[in-house]
Symmetry: none
Subunit: 220 residues, 4 copies
């Protein structure tokens, strides 16, 4: 999928084997470079890490934005998979399903580059579509849990969204294991806070529409 095809003017096309390999390597290098250096990371540094010539990078991704977009789409795909996997067990164990979702996001946070300081994600249709699917899945997850009385009634899918974003923010100067350990703890405490009866009611979240499209496309 993302790793072996490219979109041209006439839809998705199959790449030659070596080209597909290069494309994958560039994306992997971009992912880590973006996390370490921000989305303004030098493109030739990315090419170097990927072991390809800078012009090869440009052949696959005509500009920085195209590269960012694909990295983001790849990340969104993983998030969607986590959400859909969680839905499987939502009926039996709603809170556990939410926990599974968040912890899976934590585990894969190195691969999930949500838009960072330094560069917007333009309105990419693929990203937008994924985003809506994620929202739908999280909505269902929350609805199921609420129906079963497994979570506070004032928690919404938006809260899972923003938590996903925060969890995935890179912390470049912490060793990966430490960052993961800290974020895991954070997620666990957050999940505990989802349980009903615990606390004061939450203030109203912004309307989902207000943070969608352009805006949310930037942050998850």
């Amino acid at each position: 999928m993302a790793s072996s095809t490219a979109r041209g003017s006439s839809g998705t096309v199959k790449l030659r084997a070596d080209a597909a390999r290069n494309r994958t390597q560039v994306l992997a290098a971009a992912r880590t470079a973006f996390r370490e250096l921000g989305t303004a990371a030098p493109l030739d540094e990315i090419a170097r890490r990927a072991g390809v010539n800078i012009a090869t990078l440009y052949r696959r991704f005509p500009d920085r934005d195209a590269l960012i977009r694909q990295v983001v789409v790849d990340g969104f795909t993983l998030v969607l998979q986590a959400a859909q996997a969680a839905l499987q067990s939502a009926e039996q164990d709603p809170l556990g399903a939410i926990e599974n979702y968040l912890l899976q996001v934590v585990d894969q946070r190195d691969l999930i580059v949500l838009p960072l300081a330094g560069g917007p994600v333009t309105d990419d249709p693929e990203a937008n579509a994924l985003q809506q699917q994620i929202a739908a899945a999280l909505d269902e997850l929350i609805a199921t849990a609420r129906t079963k009385g497994a979570i506070r009634t004032d928690v919404t899918a938006v809260d899972l969204t923003i938590t996903s974003v925060l969890i995935c923010r890179p912390m470049p100067y912490l060793p990966t294991e430490d960052a993961t350990a800290l974020v895991t703890r954070h997620a666990r405490i957050f999940i505990a806070g989802l349980a009903p009866g615990a606390a004061q009611p939450l203030p109203a979240p912004p309307a989902y529409e207000d943070i969608t499209s352009r805006h949310l496309s930037q942050t998850i």
Copy 2:
């Protein structure tokens, strides 16, 4: 303070009025530029936003690092104040004190630029000192709360630290109010999760020392 003095070879000196004003403006511009563009934001862009010449910026801050350092120190100062303020009420209402701390950080998150992707904070003695004071205050806050049985026993000051970091991460493409609303909700749920009896015990956090000094100076 930070806005009207500068450290030279002979210690802190009083600036001329216009110079002090320029310095303040540069710091404000840097703060927002860092949040929007990352700490690699062009220095002349910062000068432009501050309405001063690039050479004037250089006169105040010999290099990018000096500028970052001061912005971070200003942010740390605010965090420390929030922590110390919270300590005042810790005896009477420990969980409320923690809540006060976190919500105050949320409220001021626009002013708190904790180190971002794109540039490390070098070992600044002033930043390090503040960081230790923050750690001490949060330690005391947690200790008091734990003694009073107001929080789960497996929660530590480190959890407050990492939460502060996550809360303050910029979300450049969300309108400020929306970002704040979302983060506020996140903080409230997290705080609820701090209450005792709620959940499964947490995994052990990394040793505080492991994430301190160079490392933590980068992430809080």
Copy 3:
């Protein structure tokens, strides 16, 4: 004028002496480079010829277009001066005035870089204004000459315009003197052809409006 001022967002500003000198040199270098290599001439080659750093060139002219535009405007200015000078003697000697105009353009053709292959002139207001003044002056020149019966009645100002363009086209691989000699002869024959009674009536020219604005701005 063009050599010592620059237009910023707040109108025309006086340049520092050294900056003005650099600006002039860059324009001179651009003029010849454009004639020799086309408007796609490497900008660093132009900077080199001007004896300034490439970044200095960019400081004065934010992109290639700005540079082209100014070179064109400078050329248009010379053409306008030639047309207005010719008007002085139009009453006494109409055909001689036209001849003076064309031969003056020939003489200065090295300084007159009318838009060349390789780069459009965007709709620059200054260029457009000059162009209209040129058209007005040539119109008057032709009208006077026609009234006096000094030229064929089917000749129009457009014919002078297009002739100016052709005359000024660079011939990079001819020695300057040869090119000038050849073009001078060409102009003289053309002028002879303007006399009345000589030849068959010409086919109608395109409407002036049709070749004005965007279009004519490209060719004179």
Copy 4:
């Protein structure tokens, strides 16, 4: 001819049908690209316009020069045909023959890419030969006309040459019909100026030898 053969080490060879078609398309694309963008036009842009792969272009034309050379030779061929056609009627109507020549050049100017700013034509034997034949034909045309007293005695074949060059210069930003109309008028006026008795004697042209070979090969 030019469109269906290629010169290899063993002389001219017949191309396979598809190869010949590709070659023709490349030449046509090159012709327009050169007129629009100058002879420095990107080769892959030319390949794109021709609908062939860049490597296919290279197979036919080993370098840019070979491509330019063929385009120029094709143009020279058309010019020669026009000159020779004009010679047919030179005896009966000398001035009409000259007019026929120039107007035919005007009509075909889109197909005639005489060397442009941006790149020299190397000394191609085929081009040189054509050029000499053109010069001979124009010489004869002028000689005949002069003998018959149909033109001014100070006009030479060089004047026809330079006029041909000027006429053919591309005016990329004018609609083709407008450009042609304007140039047609220009040519008609010029032709009128050729008639005897009209004007002051012209200054001497540069010696034919001085502008021949390398130089003239660049400009006609």
